[in-house]
């Protein structure tokens, strides 16, 4: 019998509180995913992962730790997973996407902090998430002020390393990020006791590129007018990809893509013809944040693309695999990661270009630009995003929300009206 209770006890978790989370997760999964008809068969894998989300993968990580491997918890798509893998380490995403963790975060952070940051702090300090307990080291970064201050607090409880992400994208900033990656590699080598060689880093770059290509294949299918997968299912796949083994992740995404491509050939769609196609842009949606997608897709729309960190920003652009020295490889990594258009950069016109491009590629009828409350950066960018979309004649709805259920009815009203508008 898989004795997860003993595993959770050994991790020092608060079992009583954790059990409350175990009570709400099955309901949400049932409502959001199992209510759908005609889902791809390959979603079985992600259904299993989410059913056993605090069991199977944590047990794998603990087993790896027993073999001497180190687990690095990360919070941002700017942290280069390749470096961790090259030192035989394991990465796992740690961003918190549940309201359940917010109150514990608010014990140490101001209420006026974004829910993702509060949930991430709360998951660690409230001892209700095994991933936050397992990670040997957290790798933070400087992409927002809330995170920076939260990392200082978390750093009192767990080993913490911070990468200094540039705020501009000049040539000297790309060089600076390369140096940050080189410093990170030194730290990872010391922490794991393993040397990073050009051969190992080359292999790691290839592994992560293959994962990116597999995710991109699934997204490519979402461009089809015959939509073979819901936005909810695609989002779940992306969310899980942050903490699954990257080789297995690529295998499973490719298996899903095989099925989706066949569905397109067979004319199998998950929505009736004419369903309005929505692109969602803005702040990331960490697991188990499914609120917006569920509301859109139960209000007559279909989410066909996410321009966000839990979306296209995670897999677009590959790292050059032809480089043969560490110095060249660090530069190739920097060049790839610095193409990611996060709102922490100024200017960030590349994000607008991405949104306009994705609108065309995914045959989008309307855009929902949504940020988590208290995310000043994405909230402020709404001005330029809306203006650009208006100029391009693309309908846009700007929203702000958090992880609580309390605004669901309001969101339903606004999103329902937006889709009605699109329907003409």
């Amino acid at each position: 019998m898989s004795d997860y209770v003993q595993m959770w006890k050994d991790l020092g978790m608060d079992l009583e509180n954790h059990d409350l989370l175990c009570q709400v997760l099955p309901t949400a999964v049932g409502d959001v995913f199992l209510s759908q008809e005609n889902r791809p068969k390959a979603m079985d894998f992600w259904d299993l992962v989410i059913s056993e989300v605090h069991g199977i993968r944590p047990a794998e990580l603990i087993e790896a730790q027993k073999q001497g491997r180190k687990v690095f918890g990360t919070f941002c798509v700017y942290v280069p997973d390749e470096v961790i893998i090259a030192a035989d380490g394991i990465f796992t995403g740690l961003c918190g996407g549940s309201q359940f963790w917010v109150p514990d975060g608010e014990k140490v952070l101001p209420k006026s902090t974004c829910p993702l940051v509060k949930a991430s702090a709360g998951a660690r300090l409230g001892r209700t998430c095994p991933f936050f307990r397992i990670a040997d080291m957290y790798v933070g970064e400087t992409t927002c002020d809330g995170k920076k201050k939260a990392y200082e607090i978390l750093g009192e409880d767990v080993p913490m390393y911070i990468m200094d992400v540039p705020q501009m994208k000049r040539e000297k900033d790309i060089l600076k990020w390369k140096e940050e990656i080189a410093d990170f590699a030194k730290m990872v080598e010391e922490f794991t006791g393993n040397t990073i060689t050009p051969e190992k880093l080359g292999e790691a770059i290839h592994i992560i590129n293959e994962k990116r290509k597999a995710l991109a294949r699934v997204y490519e299918c979402r461009k089809s007018e015959c939509l073979p997968i819901s936005g909810r299912d695609a989002l779940l796949m992306t969310q899980i990809s942050f903490f699954d083994d990257p080789v297995r992740c690529a295998q499973m995404c490719n298996r899903l893509a095989d099925e989706l491509e066949q569905r397109i050939r067979d004319g199998v769609s998950v929505v009736p013809a004419g369903t309005k196609r929505i692109l969602i842009t803005g702040t990331p949606m960490a697991v188990p944040n499914w609120k917006l997608h569920n509301i859109v897709e139960t209000s007559g729309g279909a989410v066909v693309c996410e321009e966000m960190c839990t979306g296209t920003r995670y897999f677009e652009n590959l790292v050059d695999e032809t480089k043969t020295t560490l110095d060249e490889q660090f530069m190739a990594l920097s060049q790839r990661y610095m193409k990611t258009n996060c709102a922490c950069f100024t200017p960030n016109t590349g994000r607008i270009d991405d949104i306009l491009r994705l609108v065309k590629e995914y045959k989008v009828d309307g855009v929902i630009d949504c940020n988590l409350k208290f995310c000043c950066l994405y909230d402020t960018e709404k001005y330029s995003v809306t203006r650009a979309l208006n100029e391009a004649g693309v309908p846009v709805l700007s929203l702000e929300t958090d992880y609580a259920d309390t605004d669901a009815e309001q969101l339903r009203t606004r999103i329902g009206a937006f889709i009605e508008l699109l329907n003409g």
Partner: protein, 90 residues
């Protein structure tokens, strides 16, 4: 779909048992889906995975279990578990 709609959950001691039965049911084209086990029926089991059946598939699933001597813990009916517009997230 009616909110009080009854569905059946097959519970397991571990996910390996669940995946074995999932494959057996798939092999016989008996519709079933992997689902998190609702906490209210999970008891002391720490396995989070269950198999979800519509009522019309239960007899065939029982026959498949019997024929293959498949391991499982219990089959439990439960109403009102799935509502797409409930808006209770976690």
């Amino acid at each position: 779909m009616a909110e009080g709609h009854v569905r059946y959950y097959i519970l397991f001691a571990n996910y390996e048992q669940g995946l074995r039965l999932h494959d057996l049911l798939d092999g016989e084209n008996i519709p079933n889906r992997i689902a998190p086990a609702p906490r209210s029926i999970q008891g002391e089991l720490s396995c989070g995975m269950s198999l979800l059946l519509e009522p019309e598939a239960v007899d065939a699933a029982r026959a498949c279990i019997e024929k293959n001597q498949a391991e499982y813990h219990a089959i439990v009916p439960l109403a009102g578990q799935i509502r797409a517009r409930r808006d209770k997230y976690c």
